[in-house]
Subunit: 337 residues, 2 copies
């Protein structure tokens, strides 16, 4: 029931983010040099927590570049060896370790199919770094806890740098520079997460819902809760929750909504959940349960919201008396081919 | 605890599919006429069960056409009004009712951004049918049970017709024509699903995992179970399950694997699940618990597998004594804007 590693790595986030922000403009220039003309489209390749950074990238990149953006379906290449034409496309692969074989395979095959390729990795001497034309190193320092934390939030900024290299991102430089302070503000308040964890104490299943740019935070929060505590938290779009899964919400199955500031739809969802007898907690600017700094723009609030999710997972693990550093049966590198 | 509607509509599937198969080649020709040259890419727009047909389309279309394929993120258009360039792209929107406002909005906006558009709808006088250039009607007859069944399996064939209009699909005409018989064979055996439902009787949470072309069946089975029974079934890729969520599997949290015939990875997953003390049921050709006809090619097995998922949801609803026709708090058309 230690969690010392996860806690320590969470605390490193403001400095890891600040280091990345120093190199942000240089990475934007590297992306521009690799892709001088607007790409035909952009595809992200990732799994697990990195895939949530990819989901953020799926929104931010299409918003910034105006070009269609997609998430790769790895099995098209690994299982079916699909013969595809990716000329003019940009492929962005994300992996903390850079050592998941399927991510490397997909990246190499799409590069052979004509795509330009970028690898976002923490280990820049990894097979994935080797495969790609441009490497954006996270430089977050070694990550030893099984649940990824500092590499995930740094990946979000790396994805933002890619988007900024392809067009106009919807946040100002000033907001980016303030982000480490915003994250510190969240990290200094662990009590809020402990309170929600206490309320959720007996829940064995929960939903975490968001929309748009914050969807990645809902998915990542749900994954962190699952891997550190064994509680089945399903992360999903608020719109998808209304299409059927809402039938599961009720007493004993609470809902967490994650809001970047603009989504009235989440209030409606919370109303329905309460009507069904489900407890509702909110993460967002000015939220009572898991407040986010009010000054962070929605397009960067995914970072602070994910830190809230990490805290919730850690607090729930403490509440359940399990060790979040090394969940039973999980390893740091998942060797999916 | 009736389920009479859902059961009756499930039984209509062989004839609904057979009717669609008669028109299959005509729809393939219409798609070719709309998109004579290979599109720059293809994007599917859908929610809920229709989104699972879109997931199948995401794989099959990229496989058949060799062109990058994506699933739309509706909020990019509805929340953020993203200024995008979809010239050369094909947009395929799916909605049983054709009346979900956000699907219509996204389709109209991407059409304005240069895309050619196809609507796959059961109600061909709906707003979505009105918005698109080409309409592929499901002609599955009115669907009155809240859980969609016959419209979903017919949507899968409509998606296959789109893929066939863009390239070579990996199944033969003969296999397509045999599909209604394969589905009848599954429908005639309800006992298998009742047996799994009985084993799952006390489970309040489960995972349903698959890969590639069968992923849509895992997602749809999980959604059907959630909406008809209130059991939290999370559907996901077997590869994603290994990246963390596996920590939730154990006694009381069983796993269903859905296999089209080629995925050894699912055996490895089942082994790990059993090691963790979780019950494992299998759906696939020759599977003991939920067998699929062995002659269906993997690229069409999504249809028979989804029928198995419908049976499981229905049998679980019976086991729990709830009425699957009208789950508490759900309505047939979800009015997400």
């Amino acid at each position: 029931m230690s969690g010392a590693l996860m806690r320590a790595e969470m605390r490193e986030q403001p400095s890891a983010l600040a280091r990345f922000i120093e190199r942000f403009d240089a990475h934007v220039e590297q992306v521009r040099a690799l892709v001088p003309d607007p790409p035909a489209g952009v595809t992200f390749v990732a799994r697990g927590s990195s895939d949530h950074a990819a989901v953020y990238g799926r929104y931010l990149t299409e918003l910034a570049s105006g070009r269609p953006t997609a998430l790769a379906a790895p099995s098209l290449q690994t299982l079916y060896k699909a013969d595809v034409d990716y000329r003019g496309w940009l492929v962005v692969a994300l992996s903390q370790s850079g050592a998941t074989p399927e991510i490397e395979t997909v990246t190499r095959r799409l590069q052979d199919a004509g795509a330009r390729t970028i690898a976002i990795v923490n280990d820049d001497s990894s097979p994935l770094a080797d495969a790609a034309e441009l490497v954006i190193p996270l430089d977050a320092g070694p990550e030893r806890a099984v649940p990824a934390t500092k590499t995930v939030t740094t990946e979000l900024l790396a994805v933002a740098a890619v988007a900024a290299g392809l067009g106009d991102v919807p946040f100002e430089r000033r907001a980016l520079e303030r982000l480490p302070v915003d994250v510190t503000e969240v990290l200094e308040d662990f009590r809020s997460a402990q309170h929600v964890a206490n309320v959720w104490r007996d829940a064995e299943r929960t939903f975490v819902a968001a929309r748009g740019l914050l969807l990645a935070a809902a998915l990542e929060t749900a994954l962190k809760v699952k891997e550190t505590t064994g509680v089945l938290a399903e992360g999903l779009s608020a719109a998808d929750l209304l299409h059927g899964p809402i039938a599961v919400l009720g007493p004993g199955t609470p809902l967490l909504t994650v809001d970047g500031g603009s989504t009235r739809e989440l209030d409606e969802l919370a109303r329905i959940a309460i009507e069904r007898g489900a407890g509702v907690s909110r993460c967002g600017p000015g939220a009572e349960e898991l407040p986010l700094p009010v000054g962070t723009p929605e397009s960067l609030a995914v970072v602070t919201a994910i830190v809230r999710g990490q805290q919730l997972a850690l607090a729930l693990a403490e509440e359940h008396g399990v060790d979040p550093d090394a969940p039973v049966g999980l390893s740091k590198v998942t060797a999916t081919t």
